[in-house]
Amino acid sequence: MPSATPLSPDLLYTRCDPAEFQFETTAELARLEEIIGQERAITAIQFGIGIQHEGFNLYALGPNGTGKFTAVSQFLHQISPHKPTPSDWCYINNFDDPHKPHALQLLAGTATIFRDEMRQLVTALRSTIPAVFTSDEYQAQQRAIEEEFNERQVQALDELRKTALEHQIALIRTPAGFAFAPLKDGEVIKPDEFIALPPEKQKSIEAQVNALQEALQRIMEQVPHWQRETQAKITQLNEKMARYAIAPLLAEIRQKYGENPGVLSYLDRVEADLIKNFGQFLDKGENPMATAVGLTSADIGQKSFTRYQVNVVVDNSSTSGAPVVYEDKPSYMNLIGRVEHVSQMGNLLTDFTLIKPGALHRANGGYLIVHARKLLTEPFAYEGLKQALRTKQIRIESLGQQFSLVSTVGLEPEPIPLQVKVVLLGERYLYYLLTAYDPDFVELFKVAADFGDEMLRNEANSLAYARLICGLAHKENLRHFHKTAVARIIEHSARLAGDAERLTTHMQSISDLLREADYWAGQQGHEVVTLADVNQALEAQVYRAGRIREQIQEAILRETILIDTQGARVGQINGLSVLSLGQNNSFGKPSRITARVRLGKGEVIDIERQVEMGGPIHSKGVLILSAFLAARYAAERPFALSATLVFEQSYSGVEGDSASSAELYALLSALANLPIKQSLAVTGSVNQHGEVQAIGGVNEKIEGFFDLCRARGLTGDQGVLIPQANVKHLMLREDVMQAVAAGQFHIYAVRTIDEGIALLTGVEAGEADDAGNYPAESVNGRVMARLEAFSKTQRAFSASPKEEADEKAVSAGGNDEPVTP
């Protein structure tokens, strides 16, 4: 059997040789400002943006800091100038129904011009209309109409008066009207004189008076009719005059927008409304009511002209090509737009000028970038966005309206057609959740741009990294980096990737490191960032984040947490776990794992699982190792073992199977009654065939145990067993490498449990002969013998005549100390 030898120091750390670089500092390099190592995602973005079909919106998924936003926005800014610039949009008054303002589409850049022209129109009308209505021409015509009315009345009365006078009857005025009185000598006849007249004469006078009264009555009845006629004529005149004042001004605007039917029909409505309401331009009097509540007449005046205003919601006058909009706060209102209100005399009022655009308006005809998590945490925003994409229009609706929570009169602006490509940026899990639970999402976001966490580490990529560092340094206005510093950063990148053959694509961590290194270079007065500065930045990062790590180590050194780093114990081993405290702050921590065995029914009890402190993967690891144990050592006889496994002094949960090999070693040690060297620590999972498999966080785990050993003093015996498959991931700290080189610390790569147990116990594992028997003194032989002894004992108990007595005996045995051979 091959026995594991310590790894040579050169396998522990894959250096990046600065000599490979053709430059001294990054100042000599061509800048690279694009994303590297994300070919798959970039291809997806190109496809997703290029394809012009419904629902082909993008979701860029990947961890934060991998450059999703940079990649997407860079690509969009590259292509957008070559796309057509979208139209401008305005909201204008709906003269038929002011609560439903119309949307008006205008050529890019003309909306503000149109708005200003309408404003000037109103200003111009405020002087031209009063001028027209105070003109001699108007006054004369108006007076003529009024005089015609008076003339008609006078004529009718005059004729009647004349007829009356012919019969010696006068038309005289009474306080409330008119009356006819018979005359005598030019005066109204005195009553006694009238009575003195002959009765026939009296009767004839009375009849005449009655006839005249009736005639007068008919005239009186005509008066309101004449009045209406006069009023109609004046209205007609007013309209004629107003049209005369308005038409030339509007014609000028019409001419400019001749090819836009929307504008033309709007201008027709404006003209009709202006003619109808020309009076508003004449009214200069103070409104006493308004003054009383503190409004100036200017306010009121302004208010009545707002309906001719143009509310520009999309102004592309300074946009060239398609707009690229990033909405940092994608709330419902920020996306869809909103209708604001103003408070006046305690009432909330609104009109079309208070319609405010959302990000969708601004991005219409172009691209909208939104962070998925922000979108999902804003109430109703995701639903609102989906609705807009599905209906392909932006309908501004307040949430209150949408959910019928308020019933006050609001605005219902006409929806604007929407054509936009939305790019969501977000974590992977959100993408998978959305695809699993939201059928709409799959339809609307058909393209996924998947950003990877790491890229291949090779010469070309190292150079690309160097150029990227150059680009970042330039963008962030940092010092340039010496090639040794670049090499160190690349090495650190591999460490972040947790793989000597890979580099991380988490550019945020790298750019943070660059900034920090630049800071330390500044502190040291360096002109370029050197290797020392990068190292200092890394050390500072570790130190700043080191409080808990140090506390744990201290607890171990003070023996609050019991971890042996020398000597040997049966059924006890040092396992290694990784604690992760936020991004880029994880460290290894040794844990004591113990195993005890006794006669039983063939079960390995995972105490963590019994108390529900172990995760499913951990439980799975324990079941695998017990399967291995049973199949290898008790394939053809009863597996009369009861074993318990526990992580000592673990007060929180345990998850992962990286300790399953350690657990198995502890169990084998307990069964074989062979002590395990406490100077070694173990990591690696195990399969049913006894092969040791790769685990994560190998660097942190090794360093965790190394730190403890160094603190107690390196003995030269100490070391860590790692799976062979993890060797390629090794990117260990400088001090670990030095200790290994000096022979003070060892790292063993093991392939199988047999290799491992031999190292740990110093006893050969033993190979089975053809009959399946192991050498008696080997570990395997001792385990076999122990298990055989258990099964014999069990058989002895089973032979007992009474079932009950047997049971009792077994349970009595259970209370004993672990059975030792």
């Binding site: 001699d136 005089e147 005289i172 109204v188 009655n210 009845e221």
Partner: protein
């Protein structure tokens, strides 16, 4: 401003009140003038004797103005109406006089309206009245006609709806009467006021001479003068000119004038203008 011009010595202004909008306008204008001239106001309300006689006739009826219905005219009802009108007239006078800080007297007369007004006017230096009484034809009413014809005092004929302080119109023909009217009009326009002069002349040369004369006499007062004249002076053209000149108070004289009677008649009777007739 506080000195009355010697040619318009006015101490008392009589206002004929009948509750109509025209008489209301006359009251306002009279008060304005009274304040300017430091004169006092005299109000008179005449109970029309013809009306009272009519009411006593057995078949007396009236046609109501607004409803066009025919109603019996009863003596008691009429008395009550007249009394109420008189009270209203007195109240109006008091209100306006107070507003202008003037002293005012009021009395009620009974008899033929024109005669009573003329009789009352004997005690006053200027007679102010509405062009017509209750909403009738725009022509000059009978009382106003009588007043113009039968009194030698200046007469102020008002119509409602036009503020007194508009640019003053002066009809000028170069006669002594017109000179007097010019004095009055200039005084009413006040310092830096606007005065529109309508020139009545035989020919252009004469008109220019008149214009020059007025400029020379009035320019030093700082008046803003505007002249309008006709090349072909006749009644219809002149009436048109007046219509064009706005609606301010028109000042003219009908005594010692060169204006043809037809022109004076048209100005007084046909045009619905507030007029101050200077005598």
């Amino acid at each position: 401003m506080n000195q009355s011009p010697h040619k318009l010595l006015i101490r008392r202004i009589l206002v004929a009140l009948d509750g109509s909008p025209h008489s209301q306008a006359a009251l306002e204008a009279a008060a304005h003038l009274a304040e300017l001239l430091r004169a006092e106001l005299m109000g008179v309300f005449v109970e029309d004797v013809n009306l009272l006689r009519l009411a006593e006739l057995p078949f007396a009826q009236e046609v109501r103005r607004h409803t066009a219905t025919i109603e019996k005219l009863e003596v008691r009802y009429l008395h009550r109406q007249l009394q109420r009108q008189a009270e209203q007239a007195q109240a109006d006078l008091k209100r306006v006089a107070n507003a202008h800080a003037l002293s005012a007297t009021f009395r009620v007369a009974r008899g033929p309206v024109s005669a009573e007004v003329l009789a009352a006017a004997l005690e006053a230096d200027l007679l102010a009245l509405g062009r017509i009484s209750h909403a009738g034809p725009p022509r000059l009413g009978s009382t106003a006609k009588t007043a113009v014809a039968q009194t030698s005092r200046p007469v102020l004929l008002m119509r409602p709806g036009l503020p007194f302080a508009q640019p003053i119109l002066l009809v000028y023909d170069g006669s002594p009467g017109a000179e007097r009217a010019l004095e009055v009009a200039a005084y009413l326009a006040g310092e830096n006021g606007r005065l529109q002069v309508l020139l009545w002349a035989e020919n252009a040369q004469q008109a220019l001479a008149q214009e020059e004369a007025i400029r020379q006499s009035q320019q030093p007062k700082g008046l803003n003068l505007q002249f309008r004249r006709l090349t072909q002076p006749d009644v219809a053209n002149f009436a048109y000119l007046v219509r064009l000149s706005g609606t301010g108070l028109m000042v003219l004289s009908d005594t010692n004038t060169r204006l043809p009677t037809a022109v004076v008649h048209t100005l007084l009777e046909e045009l619905d203008h507030p007029i101050l007739l200077v005598r």
